[in-house]
Structure formats: structure tokens, C-alpha cells
Symmetry: none
Subunit: 212 residues, 4 copies
């Protein structure tokens, strides 16, 4: 019925209310992915979640609040997965390589998730800001480690973030090559000031087999 599941667990580990809320959020992601955030209708989300439309307002004040909650939760969930993968990685380059490739993998292998994230980033400045904060940590770490020479400011973050989202869009649109992950990382490292050869080498290095 509802093929996409991120927040609603299979087992009934949550209370009924929390489960309904999670179903609504998963449904919202699927609908946002299909129609974009503005065009998504509360009725369609409720229908996709298998609940009555009125139930929506039991869990969210209005559509805007839900968009914000869902988008932030989506970003947090992605960040959680990336952090988990990089728990023990100290090298900033490694972290960038890992995070970016893993991010592209996750979001292009689950198109609803990828599209929803992409469209949410386009629609919600708050979300872009949040993502920027997250990226800035690793980039700042690279500066401290002396591997990134570019001065870190909002503009750089905006551009690096925009590059990754562009790559994601390209992947989701289906026109892009198979090695989009490494190529994106390579470009990203170049933007950060890593020299060309080092960027290429780092971007192509083997990752945990889980990661493409």
C-alpha cells in the first residue's frame, strides 16, 4: 500500500498515536517527492497514509508546520545514517568522501527520499541552513587539518551544498553516469581547494563495501 517507509517501523514499537504520525510523515515524503511540497495536498497525504483527512490536524498544526517537521526529520535521519557510517573516521577528506558518496547512494537508490529531500531543500531555506551547518563541521575540520585551503564562509557552503544537490538532481533525472558519486566528491574537493590529483585519488578510493 505504502512502499516507502522511513519513520514508521514495521513492528508496533511505537504507540498508536506515534505510529499514525509516522505514517503521515512517510506518506508526506512520498507525496512531496511526486508533486513537490507546494503542490502536495493534505488530502492526498492522508489518503496515502491510510487515515482520514481530519487526522492530519491531530498531528500537525497545518501544512507548513508539517513540511518543516518532515523535512527536518528527513535531514536528521539522513545525517544520522551518515554519522553512523563515519563514527570512527577522523580525516576530513575521508569524511567528505564517505558522506557525499553515501548520501548520493542513499538518495538516488530511494528516489522518493531523494526527490523529497531535493524539493524540500529548494523550498525551505531553513532546511538549507540546517544542512549547511552539518556540512560546515566537516569542512571546518578539513581546514583545521590543513587540507582545505579555501576560506570557509556562507558562500562556500552554499556553493558546495548546491553542487551536491545538482549532482543528486542529475542522478535522479536518470541522465547521469554510473560514477556520479566519485565525480561529485572530486569536484567537491576541488571546490574546497584540494589539488586536482589528490582530489581524484581520494574520490576513487575504496569505501566500505556497503558504500558505492
Amino acid at each position: 500500500m505504502q512502499p516507502f517507509r522511513l519513520f514508521a517501523p514495521e513492528v508496533a514499537s511505537l504507540g498508536k498515536s506515534a505510529r499514525t504520525r509516522a505514517q503521515l510523515m512517510d506518506a508526506a515524503i512520498a507525496v512531496f517527492a511526486r508533486h513537490g511540497i507546494e503542490a502536495a495536498s493534505v488530502n492526498e497525504i492522508a489518503r496515502a497514509a491510510g487515515v482520514a483527512n481530519g487526522t492530519f490536524y491531530v498531528h500537525f498544526r497545518d501544512k507548513d508546520e508539517m513540511a518543516s517537521v518532515v523535512s527536518l526529520a528527513l535531514a536528521a535521519e539522513i545525517a544520522r545514517q551518515l554519522d553512523e557510517d563515519m563514527r570512527d573516521v577522523d580525516c576530513a577528506i575521508q569524511r567528505i568522501v564517505c558522506a557525499t558518496r553515501r548520501f548520493l547512494q542513499i538518495s538516488s537508490e530511494q528516489p522518493p527520499l531523494g526527490w523529497a529531500f531535493l524539493k524540500a531543500c529548494q523550498a525551505l531555506p531553513d532546511l538549507r541552513y540546517q544542512v549547511g551547518v552539518y556540512m560546515r563541521q566537516d569542512i571546518a575540520r578539513g581546514v583545521r587539518q590543513g587540507v582545505f585551503t579555501e576560506p570557509v564562509d556562507d558562500f562556500l557552503i552554499d556553493c558546495v551544498g548546491g553542487l551536491v544537490l545538482s549532482a543528486l538532481l542529475s542522478c535522479l533525472s536518470g541522465t547521469s553516469a554510473a560514477d556520479a558519486g566519485p565525480r561529485t566528491v572530486e569536484m567537491q574537493l576541488r571546490l574546497l581547494g584540494v589539488d586536482s590529483q589528490a582530489a581524484k585519488a581520494a574520490s576513487r578510493q575504496a569505501l566500505d563495501p556497503l558504500i558505492g
Copy 2:
């Protein structure tokens, strides 16, 4: 009443009908800039143009057609200005430098134009494709001239285009530094495979005084 003027000339050099159409298009750009293309309402566009709602349909079949016409015309107008500036420039790097800095200048100095273009690119894949075709010419020229080492494919174009749009968004959001133009060019050249120092040098070189 309507501060933004791109298509509607001050003088009555067009017939009355053409003038009304141009007013609608200018109004559309202003409204697209404020609310995005999807959320723009025909009534608001007509009101902004100072005509009755029915008049919209004298000039455009429906909202979608107008969005497409306006966006393409907007892109064509920008391209026309850029081409004019670069009429005699042969060097691909020079052309990229010039086009990108000029583009950012034009579109961030006229926020309605910039926002409208940005949102149009997000909403209309056709427009993105058009813009890609335009950019690809100069990039291919650079490859022929031996200055860009990166292989040119759709993915590269998507990323380079995305980078420039990200820079524009950053500028329009008002958070970015004054040297966004040169910095964007520098990043762009790096993505294309120009080495770091040459990129920095080229991006900072003096342009025609008109260009910032």
C-alpha cells in the same frame, strides 16, 4: 505600479497589443520571483500588469504556456546580453569568466529577474536543458582550446550549471560576499579542470569596466 521592466519598452514602439503582452510578461516575472512559478496566480499576474484577468487569456493559452514562454524569453534575453558582451572574445576561459560574472551581476542587481530565472530553472526542466546547451558551447570550446581537461558530458554540465545557480541563490539571499562573481568563476574553472592558480588568476582579471 510595476517597477520591473524587461520586455515592455518605455516608448510606445510596439502596437498596443504587443505592449499589453509585454506588460503581462514583466508582471509575470515579478510574480514568479515572489511566489515561484507554481504558486503564481493568473489573477495576481494580471493585476500586477494592470489588466483584467480575462486579458491574460487573450495573450496566452494558459498558465503553463505563459510560464514556458516567459522563462524561455527571459533566458533568451539574458543570453542575448551575454552574447553581446562576448561578441569578440575567442578565449574560452575569458568567455566563461565574462559570461558568469556578467550573469551574476545582471541577475543579482535585478532581484526579480534573478529570482524569476532561478525559480524557472528549478521548475522547468526544459529551461535547464536550454541553458545547458548554451553553456556547453563555451565549455566545448575550452576543451578544443585545450584549457579544460574534464570530459564534457551531461553530468558535468548539470553540476557546473548547478554551481552557478547556487551562487546566484546565495547572492540573492543576501548572505554572500561582494566578490561572489570572481569566486564563482574560480570554482567553475576548477570544476572544468583548470588548475587552482590559473583559475584564481583568470577569475580576478579585470573585465570591461561595465562588468563587476
Copy 3:
């Protein structure tokens, strides 16, 4: 507020939703009767039903679906009444006499119902077909009983049906005589091949006192 009641029962024997739906259907019949089906506006129907315009779409997908639902329900309701009256009548001539006179009585005594039915028949070929199927049963029965000599085909059904509707129109227009029922039956029987005298005799015979 709404003088015509066919589907909405006085008592609250239906759920609230079903009652609203029935009110809309009754209102639709009244409006169809006044303006015809094509010219009837959803807003006017909703207003006549005493509900908000949006409520219309809670109960019907769109105007066309409602027109079809209402018309078929109207025809079914009329057919139900006729069938009830003729439950025990076997003779085809009797059935025709009874059905036609009763039909004219019902629909000319309740002009909204009559007009709505008439206009629905003009606008909806499906409804005409339905009515034709219904009429054909009794006519075929008459052929089996050897009292109708005319061969039964679509053209005959179309003509007999058209005759009855013409009679109804004449009644509703107010120009016609009091004995429209018997005269219509007589003509109808003649069309079916009953000879003139028998037709006149049968058409004038006494019916249940309820029936005029």
C-alpha cells in the same frame, strides 16, 4: 426553501451524509427542471440544497457524474413506482395503458420532476437508452401475446418513446387538454399496431381510482 422532495425523506432515517446527498439530488432536479442540465450551475444547485458549493464535490466527482447519477435515479424512481402499480398486471395492453397514464400523471403533477426527466432524456443518450430498455419489455410482451403487430426494433422504440415525451412536453407546457393521458395511450397503441377502435376502448378504460 426547497419545495421539491423526491430523494430526501422528511424523517432523519438516513445518516447526515446521505441526507445531504439526497438534498443535493432533489435540488439538482429542481434546477435541471428550470434551466436544463447543461445550463444548471453547481453553485445554484448547492444554494438550492442549502449547502456550501464545496459540499457538492464531497458527494459527486463533478457535474457530469451528478447529472448521470441524478437522471438515472430519477428514472429508476419513476420505474419503481410504475412497476409497483403493475405488479399483478399480465396483459401487455393493460400494462402500457397503466404505465403511460401513470407516468404522465406523475410527471405532469410534479412539474419539476417532469421537466427534469424530459430535459435529462434530451441531454443524455444513456438515459434514453435505459428508458428504451424498460419500454421494450412491455412492448415485447405485447408481441408475444399477439396484440401488437408492428415489428419491434430500435426505431419503433425511439418513436414510441418520443411520442410519450412529446405528450409530456405538451402537458408541461400547459397547452394541452385534460385527457392527455388516454389520448397518448391511444396514439401509442396505434403506433404499436393495435387497431383504432380497440386502441380507443383500451385507452379509456377505468384504471385504479388513484390513476387519472
Copy 4:
């Protein structure tokens, strides 16, 4: 461009203004036939006539007036053709046979004309009345000649007229048999009180070869 021509002569025998008016009337018939009178739009009629929409109002006060003018002219034109065919026929039965068969022939061989006439009769009581006046003449003649036994009143006229229109509808809908003309006449004569055998004989008699 405009396949249907009734009022606009090929040759320029009329003044320019009269020609434009005639073109509009022909176009109106075609459009009425396609969409019905209510749904026909002035713009579509003007377009079909090959003139600007404003021109419509040079020739007609408004849409209703045009509908009335066109319908009446259409009926008059048909009547003129029938009268021409029957100029020398005195026998009422002959006249009915001839008029009805010829009418069905004309209007089913030129579907735009047939549909327009049919829909006009449904929409405009005035037209129905006019047609009734015309039919009544021949029917009254039959009564004087002693061949029709049925008393002539509005109700009879309505029913006989309705029968012929039903037959036309059946023909235009394409479901009806080839001998619709004779069968319609036969039914019509029965309605008027002619006995069955005489009706059949008269209805099948040979007509002028032109007439089917």
C-alpha cells in the same frame, strides 16, 4: 473551410454585408449542430464564419437574437423547399407523405442541418410553435378532405411533431433502419386517424424520384 452552406450563396449575389451575415448564419448552424445552441460560443461561430468576433455584433444584437433568427430562417428555408415540392399536390395524405419523407431526407442527409434543426426545436418554444403552425395547415386540410378523423388541437400537433422529430433523432443517431421515412409517415398517418392498411399503402407509394 466551411462545408455547410445554406444561406450564403456561392456567387456574390448579395452585398458584402449581407454575405457576411449569411456566413455567420451558416457557421451558426454548423456550430449549433455540433455543440447545441446553449453551448455554442459566439467566438466559435465567428471563427467558423471566418470573421472577427466583434463582427458578430454588427449583425446581431446578441446571441439569443441570433439563435432565434437562425432557427426561424432555417425552418423557413426547409418549409420553402417542402412547399416547392408540393406546389401542385392537393391531397392531404399525399402532402403529408411528401413533406415528411422529404423533410427526413433533407435533414438526415445533411446532418448539420438536421442536428441544428432538432436542437433548435428542443431549445426554442417559438420555433416549435412556428413548425406547428406549418404542420397544422396540411393536417387541417386532411380533416376537411375527410381523411383524418382525429380532432385537431394543440396536443395532436405537439404529438405528431414530436413523432417526426423523434424519427429524425433516431436517423441522425445512426441506429435506425433504411425505411425510416415510410415508417415515420405510416405512424404519423395512424396518429391522424388513417386506418392501418391505408396508412401503410400511402406511406410506401412512390414519390418523385428525387425523394427517398
